[in-house]
Subunit: 121 residues, 2 copies
């Protein structure tokens, strides 16, 4: 009863670190992209426009570490590496895809609000 309503907002709450990691622009885009299925590094790089190899690598590493993405490296020349959402990753895809859909659906209202706001300052 004396607990805060939303533990998630507490500094000591472990899930907050997870939210911080997951509530991130690049993470969201990569996970949404991977929602289309297993794909190679290069394809991912093309899909998520404007992402640098360094950032993509870092994002994928973090996702892999958290058990959200699986990495498959084939011993071929030239190398071939594929990434795929894990079962856990797919559970994350749902809310992130929902967030993406929100952005797509409400962008007109957001843009309109920005114009109104900017017009007054």
């Amino acid at each position: 009863m004396t607990q805060p309503e939303v533990n998630l907002l507490t500094e000591t709450c472990p899930s907050r670190t997870s939210l911080a990691r997951v509530a991130d622009k690049w993470t969201a885009m990569v996970v949404i992209a991977l929602g289309s299925g297993r794909m190679r590094f290069g394809v991912l790089r093309t899909m998520v426009e404007g992402i640098s190899p360094k950032v993509l690598t870092g994002t994928l590493r973090d996702l892999e570490r958290d058990g959200l993405v699986a990495r498959y490296a084939y011993a071929e020349v030239p190398p071939r590496v594929e990434y795929e959402l894990t079962a856990l990753g797919r559970t994350l895809h749902t809310p992130l895809r929902a967030l993406g859909s929100w952005a797509e659906e409400h962008i007109p209202e957001v843009l309109a609000a920005r114009e109104t706001y900017d017009a007054f300052r």
Copy 2:
């Protein structure tokens, strides 16, 4: 047919700017906090532990500009200012709250995955 499957990931897609804004740690926490209802700056500051006044102000400004939060300032001394999700903001609260719930529900798996990953490097 020649369109990419996910426009959202395109650099020229306006909704991508919105996703970038909304897929953010502080934004998520503030919107989740405001899900509890209209509240004062100070309360918000206490709820979202560790947020500095500067960051909270900035986050609220951005949300206000995008039409997601309404600001109510009362001409009193000392000043009293309250913030509340707008109708549009409440539509955003749903997917963000879902993301928060995901973090809460799956944190054990995430932590376990991290341990396994770190054990090997």
